[in-house]
Subunit: 182 residues, 2 copies
Amino acid sequence: MRIEKLCLEAEVSCAWQPFLLGPIFEKRGWSSSPFVLDPEKGRYMWRDVEREAERLGLPFKRPALFPADSVLSARLALVGLDEPWGLPFAKAVFQAEFVFGQDIGLPATLYALLEDLGQDGPAIHEAALSPFWKPRLRAVTQTALARGIFGAPTFFVEDEVFWGNDRLEQAVAWAKAKKKAP
Amino acid sequence: MRIEKLCLEAEVSCAWQPFLLGPIFEKRGWSSSPFVLDPEKGRYMWRDVEREAERLGLPFKRPALFPADSVLSARLALVGLDEPWGLPFAKAVFQAEFVFGQDIGLPATLYALLEDLGQDGPAIHEAALSPFWKPRLRAVTQTALARGIFGAPTFFVEDEVFWGNDRLEQAVAWAKAKKKAP
């Protein structure tokens, strides 16, 4: 919700890249989100997200269902990555989950979001499962694993890694400095 | 290194409390620091600490020995908690480890820090192992466990929990707001 404005102000660009966290957690032997596996840490994290959202003026409601099944939303977002609807769709998915408590694992939820953007959900779903698009999600997730990603959001400025909403300002500042003195 | 100035500016007080992370990690089934157990996350964390220290104008050097054995330093810090040398000693221990690469598990390292503060290291060591002080470290660590602490530094403002250097400003702001409207 914050990255576009910050990048615009800093005059740097940002390329979004959907991927799956599941295989990354699996590699660490985690059967679910760390928010779920460690209840004390999880309780803290949800409270922290709530406080930070309020501080940043962003709506937030802890979803009843967590973690959601994000495979289909990631597949659809990949199809849209170079389309005008791609980024608004990705943001709408996050809001559906973390503001409106919708189940983003359901095709109907995602079709409705796409329809709001003037897109044909079932047609995009079909494209996402085509031999051209379907293997892409595995490929980008393998790339994420290979780059040592362990959570989301992760921001790369060349090989410099920044993890989490609370490192977004630092990532953008780093990109801006790099651009000035490459 | 930052909390005293921030608390002073916000006109709130801060009570330091040493405790051991070891039993807290053990409870989670971790045999060492998460920085060590997950090499990819560990590599990121060290880089993040390095960058954040630079941003904040604080000296930092990644210690060759990590995690250090902090039991004795915690014992000595507990003895000093209500003494004028306690807080300077605690900060000196962190600097010894994270700036000067010293082994804070060695009595000689800690005696030298105490001597710099005009204190008698061996005498304080002896006091720390007395029946009055020795059980305190276990007690405060049990309290930390009971309060759901999972890392350090953790800041409490009544029951509101803030974890990590990057939540210090929020913790101090929360304390300030609480003070104004209790």
